[in-house]
């Protein structure tokens, strides 16, 4: 049971959260201007690093806010969490 620090609520049990996948994917401003390949890349392709990974999390059973986290995928350790608009922790 991971202990996840919601940037709004503080540390809470993992079961209060929903995982939201890779962070930093911005919805294209003009999807129709993208080629099929570019659109498929946005739609399906995700990074899968071993080590620190910027992710989105959703505090489903808490404040219901989305936030970001940097988590080490090899150790499960959270480097840090931050609010939308904040600078990721190093």
């Amino acid at each position: 049971m991971l202990l996840i620090r919601c940037p709004w609520c503080g540390p809470r049990d993992e079961i209060e959260f929903r995982y939201g996948g890779q962070a930093g994917l911005t919805y294209p401003s003009e999807p129709e201007a993208l080629s099929d390949e570019e659109w498929a890349d946005y739609l399906f392709m995700r990074d899968n690093p071993k080590g620190p990974f910027q992710e989105r999390w959703f505090h489903t059973a808490g404040c219901r806010r989305w936030f970001y986290a940097v988590r080490d995928t090899a150790t499960h350790r959270f480097v840090g969490t931050y609010r939308i608009g904040e600078v990721p922790p190093a």
Binding site: M1, L2, L3, D13, E14, R18, G20, T26, Y27, E30, P31, E32, L34, D36, W39, A40, L43, R56, F58, T60, R64, R65, W66, H76, I84
Partner: protein, 861 residues
């Protein structure tokens, strides 16, 4: 072996509190603080147990959770299917019997010990094994963990054992006695089981730091007959003496690889027992065999020069060295290294930063041991390695001889380490026997991993108070639920909701009830509780623009007072959910979702608003349970609503299809919506939940026939209305459903729009929704039935063209029909395909997926 209780001593027993218990039908006396094992030994009970596979006689082998032999079923005062006798505290009225192998449940429910779940937090937690043979080591090493926290909180100690009387050692701690830690999890999460008289508590504890002092577990040494009752771990012999004042025998032979047995002879001599022989591996002496009928009688020793001795004995105390007890540490990711001096694995310093291992568990002050894994012999068939799996040295050698090298494979070939004790006494032995047989160096590969729970846990404990017919999942009912109970409705689970499936009349089967309900809607008036549909209010100046981006069609130009049906797609263009949007005001909509999709739709709205479009001024509120919805439908629906009294003009001209009106219905405020999920004239009555039952009762009194979800399914399928999640499965686009009209490409971007022109989504041979009419008119095709080509014999491999998504018997059509998704199905309309049912191929005509009133001539009544 003739155990007996000493007249004094025993750190764990309370002699002022004698206890009567029954084992295998015989009544015995023990003391408060005894385990079942110690009390039996005190009564001179030698064996009484059997091995699970070979049926060999077995006795108590250890004094703790590593016990591999003495298993019992407890029937009184609480039922426990199987547990180690070393883990059962005797209590008045305890009834237990020996149990070989696996536990068995009774057919009748038996009372189990009450159990609750509790949570707590702590800055520092010390996980402590009961003081045992090596405890002085652990004591000193844990001193650094005893200081109070800066906030004054005392470290929490999870003590696997009773609190010893008057020990200042425990003063700095907040001690939870009788608490076995079952598992360690990420970020200092601990699950522990506290067993107290009359109550078990499953604790969930979050700790900032965890100190593990789980001591060490002694290894046995396999020799011929090493499983006979009377063969015990040397530490257990000492534990029973120290803790329970039980001398387990009078003539004790000692077999050791290390110095942990020193002093045992003197201790026993003081109580009229003697060590009759000592075989120290380091001096070249071994015990070759134990012999006896049902217990140890003779011990055969072999010396460094091959000399042989035979000695009468009733106990063999074995110490093959000590393994740090690291199951909890390894399961959370701690690694091991081999320590030659103690011939065992110790923590290698890895593992989570919040965890510290101390004392014997860290390999500290464990007596050096010779690396010795079994006594060489010509015949290894009774050199038992894993007593609980009846596996011997020969079985391990056979596995290696069969080509297995990894202990993981040997474990799976022999099942060593897979029993209740998880190989606590056999794991290291097995690894080293394998290493040795392969000619590898000591410690080349370590023991297999043990996983939580550390000791067996009953389902009764895991369930705690969450018992009974409703179990863990909440049951959601609408405010009208009681009325359905009164009518004898049969319910269907839809998500967590209980919805009436149908309303049988006396003696009526489901088919007849559903047919009657369908015809009531087609020919008269029916009423359905639609309360469970998800309802979300979307409010704010940007609500129109937001909904335009979420739905495939335009919601911003919807007039106040009007309703529009819409699809939401995934980014991949596949249908995600459907529902209607009502415009309540310039900046206010109420949207409905499927019953099962309500939470997912709200999540999705919030996700896009927060992460992609935080500039949009929109708030979303779930109002599902604020409203009760009674849908009154059928040619007579207008009469029913008028009959219960309303100030709303119900005429088709004043109140057209796909609009809503606020007014008074049956004396209460009501929002009436002209939407229909069956094609007949329909008024959905949305009222405050307080008034749901009132309106339902009024509608019933006015003569509407209640109908359930099954009739609702039939009626909507007759009209070709899809159910998202039944006729779609996440791979279906609006066009696949023949509903391309719902996509408005001329408005701006919306979720999934770009994907609708991907090469894959515009393939002409995608699966498309069609209607199917079984040619016999009577077969109800099972939903999920595969559709295959209709011409020629069916020989594998058979290309699958699609499958049936909905299938019913239609009373109004007088025949059966189905909806299906079929490859390039629209171009197959007019042809015959075959439904491959379990009872044989059924020819089906492919038709348009609208079976009734295709021109929508009935919806105005």
């Amino acid at each position: 072996m003739s155990g007996r209780r000493l007249p004094e001593g025993g750190s764990l027993i309370d002699r002022t509190r004698p206890i009567s218990f029954t084992f295998d039908g015989t009544e015995y006396e023990g003391f408060e603080g005894d385990t079942l094992a110690s009390a039996l030994l005190a009564n001179g009970v030698v064996g009484g147990f059997r091995s699970p596979i070979l049926g060999r006689p077995r006795g108590v082998f250890t004094a703790g959770p590593e016990e591999p032999s003495a298993f019992v079923q407890v029937t009184e005062p609480w039922f426990e299917a199987i547990t180690a006798a070393t883990m059962v505290d005797v209590a008045d009225g305890l009834v237990a019997s020996g149990k070989a192998g696996v536990g068995a449940l009774t057919r009748e429910p038996r009372p189990t010990k009450p159990a609750v779940h509790r949570s707590r937090h702590a800055d520092s937690v010390v996980i402590w094994s009961a003081p045992r043979s090596l405890h002085p080591v652990a004591y000193t090493d844990a001193q650094s963990q005893k200081d109070p926290e800066p906030n004054g909180e005392r470290p929490l100690m999870l003590l696997d054992g009773p609190t010893p009387t008057a020990s200042s050692f425990y003063d700095p701690y907040d001690v939870m006695p009788h608490t076995t830690t079952l598992g360690l999890y990420d970020d200092g999460y601990i699950v522990a089981l506290q067993r107290e008289a009359g109550l078990d508590t499953l604790w969930h504890i979050r700790a900032d730091r965890v100190t593990l002092s789980t001591d060490a577990i002694e290894r046995p040494i396999p020799f011929a007959g090493c499983d006979l009752p009377g063969v015990m771990l040397a530490g257990a012999v000492r534990d029973y003496l120290d803790r329970f004042a039980v001398v387990v025998g009078t003539r004790v032979a000692v077999f050791t690889t290390n110095d942990s047995v020193s002093g045992l002879a003197e201790r026993l001599a003081a109580h009229d027992a003697e060590v009759v022989a000592t075989a120290d591996v380091r001096d070249g002496w071994r015990i070759a065999a134990a012999e006896g009928d049902d217990a140890v009688q003779v011990v055969r020793l072999i010396g460094p020069g091959g000399e042989r001795r035979a000695v009468d004995a009733d106990v063999i105390a074995v110490s093959g060295g000590w393994n740090p007890n690291l199951g909890l540490y390894r399961a959370i990711g701690g690694g091991l290294r081999y320590d030659d001096s103690i011939a065992a694995w110790v923590p290698d310093g890895t593992g989570p930063g919040w965890l510290t291992v101390v004392g014997a568990a860290a390999g500290e002050a464990i007596p050096p041991s010779a690396p010795f894994w079994y006594v060489p012999a010509d015949d290894y068939s009774t050199h038992f390695v894993d007593l609980q799996r009846d596996q011997t040295v020969q079985d391990v050698l056979d596995a290696v001889g069969g080509g297995l090298r990894s202990v993981e494979h040997v474990k799976r070939a022999t099942y060593i380490g897979t029993a209740i004790d998880q190989g606590r006494t056999s794991g290291v032995l097995t690894a080293e026997i394998v290493n040795d047989a392969l000619g590898w160096e000591l410690g080349a590969q370590g023991p297999t991993n043990a996983r939580p729970p550390y000791v067996p846990v009953s389902f009764a404990v895991l369930a705690g108070l969450d018992r009974g017919p409703t179990l863990l999942d909440p049951v959601r009912t609408t405010p009208i639920h009681e009325a359905y109970l009164d009518r004898g409705a049969v319910f269907e689970n839809v998500g967590q909701w209980k919805r009436p499936h149908y309303f049988p009349r006396a003696g009526e089967e489901m088919d007849r009830a559903v047919a009657r309900e369908c015809l009531a809607v087609r020919n008269g008036a029916g009423a359905l509780d639609a309360t469970t549909l998800g309802k979300i209010e979307v409010v704010g100046p940007d609500a129109p623009a937001f909904l335009d981006r979420m739905y495939t069609n335009r919601m911003s130009n919807l007039a106040i007072g009007s309703i529009r049906y819409g699809f939401m797609l995934g980014l991949d263009g596949m249908v995600f959910d459907d529902g209607v949007a009502m415009r309540l005001a310039e900046d206010r909509y109420l949207v409905t979702t499927t019953t099962g999709g309500a939470a997912a739709v709200l999540d999705r709205f919030e996700e896009w608003l927060q992460t992609e479009w935080p500039d949009l001024r929109v708030y979303c509120t779930s109002v599902t349970e604020r409203w009760s919805v009674v849908a009154v439908g059928g040619p007579r629906a207008r009469d029913v609503v008028a009959g219960i009294g309303t100030d709303i003009d119900l005429s088709a001209e004043a109140f057209p299809w796909m609009t809503w009106r606020d007014g008074i219905v049956a004396g209460v405020p009501c929002r009436v919506c002209r939407v229909s999920f069956h094609g007949e004239l329909c008024y959905e009555l949305h009222v405050s939940s307080w008034h749901g039952r009132h309106v339902w009762d009024a509608v019933m009194a006015a003569g509407a026939v209640p109908y359930g979800t099954e009739a609702m399914h039939v009626l909507r399928a007759e009209k070709g209305y899809v159910i998202v999640g039944q006729d779609t499965d996440g791979t279906v686009t609006p066009d696949d459903l023949g509903m391309g009209w719902i996509v408005n490409p001329s408005k701006g971007d919306f979720i999934g729009k770009r994907s609708l022109v991907r090469p894959d989504t515009v393939r002409p041979d995608r699966k498309q929704l069609v209607g199917l009419l079984p040619e016999d008119g009577t077969t109800v095709l099972p939903e999920g039935t595969q559709i295959v080509a209709g011409d020629g014999p069916i020989e594998p491999p058979v290309p699958m063209l699609g499958h049936v998504t909905s299938s019913y018997r239609s009373p109004v059509l007088g025949r059966t029909f189905a909806l299906a998704v079929v490859r390039a199905g629209r171009s197959a309309i007019g042809t015959t395909l075959v439904a491959a049912t379990r009872s044989g191929p059924v020819p089906v005509s492919v038709v348009e997926p609208v079976f009734y009133d295709p021109k929508d001539e009935r919806r105005d009544g």
